[in-house]
């Protein structure tokens, strides 16, 4: 087990290096740069001024030097400074990452619980009305993109019904309170969760149907166990195993989704930070964002593998 984890970690090092090269290339292939992006905001500047600002930011050096500088910094644990406001990127991310994790964590958890429960119910009621309606609902769920779901929720619950706030993490002017924060969380988390719940439901239904046909379910029934024991202890435990993979795969798409949703709801997480950085051509922030998400996704994959070995005693990594 330990040696498996070590091997996986070792293997992820070259992958992460690949990621740095790609993200660096993309960040620098974008038209314009941070200096040009700022010019519109500042007074019209002379060529000399632009060159000077570029020199300050190190943008006048050859690309490979810029890349090596960046990597060198990162290896020292220093994520660099934002071109736009000069703050340390590490600090910005440290401030904003918890917001994103709160949003994503709640969305994923809710999606998993709702999706799995409905999927299991749907499987137990196969070919009945409940099953058909849930399947139809799930179909609708996976067909609605995150941004549209976000806008729809804002329109209905914030603008029309006025039940819930439509942006930010707390009501401006009030003192921060958890309850207020959670009220703000509901809409963006729901926007992210619904699509994923539909996916979890789909897989949970398929997994449960598969399990229901297994011989050991018949054995459990032949023992005269309660139907609930049969379903939960013997069925669900096994049906959950393939869902772990779905869970692991949901994470990367969740980062993508949170960029959109954070923008719509002005949720000050790293997704919003990323969009701002793209607008300002703030390449250190862009590159660090991608790197951090890549690391998180990788760790999540490791966690998925671990979860496998916990849920399924047959899995033996070595």
């Amino acid at each position: 087990m330990l040696s498996y984890l070590l091997r996986k970690l070792l293997l992820s090092i070259p992958v992460l290096f690949g990621v740095t090269v790609i993200v660096f290339a993309i960040a620098h292939a974008m038209p314009g740069d941070a200096v040009l992006a700022m010019i519109t905001a500042e007074a019209p500047s002379s060529e000399a001024l632009i060159a000077m600002r570029r020199g300050e930011l190190g943008l006048d050096q050859p690309l490979y030097i810029q890349y090596l500088n960046w990597i060198g910094q990162i290896l020292h644990g220093n994520l660099g400074r934002s071109f736009v406001n000069g703050r340390s990127v590490g600090e910005i991310i440290g401030e904003r990452l918890p917001m994103t994790l709160e949003l994503m964590g709640v969305a994923l958890l809710v999606a998993f619980i709702i999706g799995t429960t409905l999927g299991v119910i749907s499987a137990l009621r196969q070919y009945r009305l409940t099953d058909y309606s849930l399947t139809l609902g799930g179909f609708v769920g996976v067909s609605i993109p995150d941004f549209f779901m976000g806008l729809l929720l804002v329109y209905v619950f914030a603008l029309e019904l006025r039940w819930l706030p439509s942006s930010g993490i707390s009501t401006a002017g009030d003192n921060f309170s958890l309850l207020d924060n959670l009220r703000h969380l509901i809409l963006p988390a729901a926007a992210l969760a619904l699509f994923r719940a539909a996916i979890f439901m789909r897989y949970a239904r398929a997994g449960m149907l598969d399990v229901l046909n297994q011989d050991y379910m018949r054995t459990a029934k032949a023992k005269g166990l309660r139907p609930s024991t049969i379903t939960l202890r013997h069925g669900l435990r096994n049906a959950l195993i393939p869902l772990v993979t779905v869970f692991g795969l949901a994470l990367p798409t969740l980062f993508g989704g949170s960029v959109v949703i954070e923008t719509i709801f002005q949720w000050p997480g790293i997704g919003l930070m990323f969009i701002d950085a793209v607008v300002n051509r703030d390449s250190p922030v862009i590159m660090d964002y991608v790197l951090i998400t890549a690391i998180i996704v990788m760790l999540a994959n490791l966690a998925t593998d671990l979860a496998y070995s916990v849920l399924d005693p047959r899995v033996n990594y070595d």
């Binding site: 011989d215 032949a222 023992k223 202890r233």
Partner: protein, 691 residues
């Protein structure tokens, strides 16, 4: 009905005046929507006395499993429907009570063990939990109390080291051990009826013998009644009181076991007994039941066996014969049972052509010291830490025109050997010469040549046929791929092949799912023959088929060999079938050949203790032989081939093992004579009488 009433009374183990523990009356079960029903069980009645053991025997589709699963409330409804009947367990109708009540009878009073122990246990729960949950459920025991009882039960079924094993998961056990645990699981609540649904079909012969012995012992100890479902008449002959034979959803004959074998009245039972291979009979031809398994989508208004019955008359196709009493608890459902005694019994059809010419003394295939090792890799750097010695130094020859059978239990390396010969597996050492040439490293035209000359017939005829191709295309596929002949000649060749394997030309445009198992295997054989090979490797070609169909395929293979001058390497585990088609036999154990000789020599005077045990583990279709025949029941299971025991691989299970066996690997010695031919045995004590 009346006949069955008589039965209940004559049962010796039943206490006087006691009613049957289970009384099934007129049970009928259909599947699927009305109008397009599958008639799975038709008007089945039987009684089971306290402590009695009843076997229900039938081939696939006979409804034997559906019958007992219906009693347990295990069939899915829909699509299943009970259309008639009652099933009284001590006066409660199992079919009428709601599932919430039936649940309390299931597992506590009537328990069940299943066919495949691997898949019938939950892979993610510990064995301990699975053993105790029924106790906690039915008897309200605490976990600790339940655990104590489970431990006793594990001891009873012979699981060593029970306290530790309780925390293990199913995949950490061998198949035989798992079936013991399945039995323990069924018996923890001390049920009064145990239903065993083909519990040994998925196991090796030596393990099967262990399980049968165990269940027979437990029945005496616990005094329960048993319903044993099986496709194998000879297996149940040894230990049950009564046998019910089912065909197409109906009981066709039911009798005390001795009487069923000695005074058989139903043509189907006669056919079944005839198609069972014997270890001693002199004839070398099996007598199969002609035709294919029954069509259960037709309403049961006639004798379902009529299309295959040699005695069928007009009335057999018009009305279904009732179950009539022959006498002495013997019932039968055949219009002509009274005449059956005087009618001639079916004879073996004459072989299609003359017998195969005696094998030439010229080897077609020479395998020397073949080793196939699969590396085991571990650690951060995936270093090789060991190897599974799947095939570990195997040498044999196959002469032109002969059939060599490779036999052994699962994991002995017989299939890997076959795959290596075919070039699907790279040997780690040793050589394989085909027609005097070593094809290792051969490429292009040479390989194609060998492919043409050497073909394989697979075990699972369904899995090995492309479901989206018609039979004609499947058979012609190889010819097309190798660009042999023109379209027209290939078409003609397919027709010829269909006729050769006994399939109607009309089947050419069918798809595999429309065929029966036996027909599919014929297609598999036709495909292998398409390019006129010299050599056929048949990997367990009959083990997925019903007994009556197995005999057909064995006879077909035999005929083809004679007609086409083929040479076979036949891989199998069923020694009794192998006797009918092989010239020589090689017995494998844990990657090595332990005994090889002519079929007559190996079956007549087996010299290796393992061969003797294998032969004695084969059930004989004769209830009387059970007592007189010496059975050697081997303990334990085949060891892990990555850690074979030192010295003789067989010593941990060998009843004759001595000191030297644990240290020194036995040399191969020839015990043959000019008459009996070469007879090689690898055993220090080969041929010694003490066993």
């Amino acid at each position: 009905m009346t006949g069955l009433d008589v039965l209940a009374g004559r049962k010796p183990t039943a206490a006087p005046g006691q009613g049957p523990v289970l009384d099934v009356q007129g049970l009928s079960v259909e599947f699927g929507p009305k109008g397009r029903s599958v008639y799975a069980v038709n008007d089945v009645s039987f009684q089971l006395a306290e402590g009695e053991s009843l076997a229900i025997v039938g081939e696939s589709g006979s409804g034997k499993s559906v019958t007992v699963q219906t009693l347990m409330g295990l069939i899915r409804k829909p699509p299943g429907r009970v259309t008639a009947g009652r099933a009284l367990y001590r006066g409660h109708d199992l079919l009428a009570v709601p599932d919430s009540e039936l649940r309390h009878i299931r597992g506590r009073d009537i328990a069940m063990i299943f066919q495949d122990p691997m898949s019938s246990l939950n892979p993610v729960l510990t064995v301990g939990l699975q053993l105790t949950e029924a106790l906690c459920e039915h008897q309200g025991l605490s976990q600790a109390q339940a655990e104590r009882q489970a431990l006793d039960m594990l001891d009873l079924v012979g699981i060593a080291n029970a306290p530790q094993r309780m925390r293990a998961f199913p995949h950490q056990f061998s198949g035989g051990q798992l079936q013991r645990i399945g039995i323990a699981m069924a018996l923890v609540c001390k049920p009064s009826i145990l239903i065993a649904d083909e519990p040994t079909t998925a196991l090796d012969v030596t393990i099967q013998a262990q399980i049968v012995e165990l269940v027979a012992r437990l029945q005496k100890q616990l005094g329960m009644a048993i319903i044993w479902i099986s496709h194998d008449l000879s297996l149940v002959a040894g230990f049950v009181d009564r046998v019910a034979v089912m065909y197409a959803g109906s009981i066709v004959e039911c009798a005390p076991v001795d009487e069923l074998f000695s005074a058989t009245t139903h043509p189907y039972t006669i056919g079944l007994l005839n198609s069972i291979p014997s270890l001693t009979a002199a004839n070398t031809r099996l007598v199969p039941i002609k035709g294919a398994p029954p069509n259960v989508t037709l309403a049961p208004t006639f004798c379902a066996f009529a299309p295959r019955c040699g005695y069928a008359e007009a009335r057999c196709r018009e009305a279904k014969p009732p179950l009539e009493t022959v006498g002495g608890g013997h019932t039968t459902a055949c219009w002509r049972w009274r005449q059956m005694e005087h009618l001639p019994r079916p004879q073996a059809a004459a072989p299609g052509m003359t017998r195969a010419a005696a094998p030439k003394q010229e080897p077609l295939l020479v395998v020397s010291d073949l080793k196939v090792h699969f590396p085991i890799r571990r650690g951060v750097l995936r270093r090789q830490v060991g190897a599974v010695h799947a095939v570990d130094g195997v040498s044999f020859e196959v002469l032109r025109g002969e059939t060599l059978a490779l036999v052994g239990e699962s994991g002995c390396g017989k299939s890997t050997t076959g795959r290596a010969v075919l070039g699907l597996e790279r040997p780690s050492a040793g050589s394989i010469l085909f027609e005097g040439r070593d094809y290792a490293g051969a490429t292009g035209e040479q390989l194609k040549q060998r492919q043409r000359a050497m073909q394989m017939v697979f075990q699972n005829p369904f899995g090995s046929l492309n479901p989206r191709m018609t039979v004609g295309r499947i058979i012609g596929e190889g010819l097309r791929a190798q660009k042999i002949g023109t379209r027209a000649t290939r078409d003609a060749r397919v027709s010829e092949l269909l006729a050769l394997v006994g399939l109607r030309e009309a089947l050419r445009n069918r798809y595999p799912f429309e065929l029966s198992g036996g027909q599919r295997q014929r297609v598999g054989i036709a495909r292998a023959l398409a390019a006129n090979p010299k050599f056929i490797i048949a990997d367990e070609p009959i083990s997925a088929l019903d007994v009556s169909i197995q005999a057909q395929i064995v006879n077909l293979l035999d005929d083809l060999k004679a007609r086409l001058g083929l040479t076979y390497l036949f891989i199998g585990h069923d020694l009794s079938m192998i006797r009918y088609l092989s010239d020589r036999v090689a017995v494998m154990y844990l990657g090595r050949i332990v005994e090889i000789g002519t079929t007559v020599a190996v079956f007549g005077s087996p010299l290796h203790p393992y061969t003797r045990a294998l032969l004695s583990a084969i059930p004989v279709p004769d209830p009387k032989a059970g007592g007189t025949r010496r059975r050697i029941v081997l303990g334990g299971a085949v060891p892990d081939p990555s850690k074979p025991p030192p010295g003789c691989h067989f010593h941990p299970r060998c009843p004759m093992a001595s000191d030297i066996c644990t240290k020194v690997e036995p040399q191969v010695r020839d015990f043959g004579s000019p008459v009996s031919g070469q007879h090689l045995v690898a055993c220090h004590h080969a041929g010694e009488a003490t066993l």
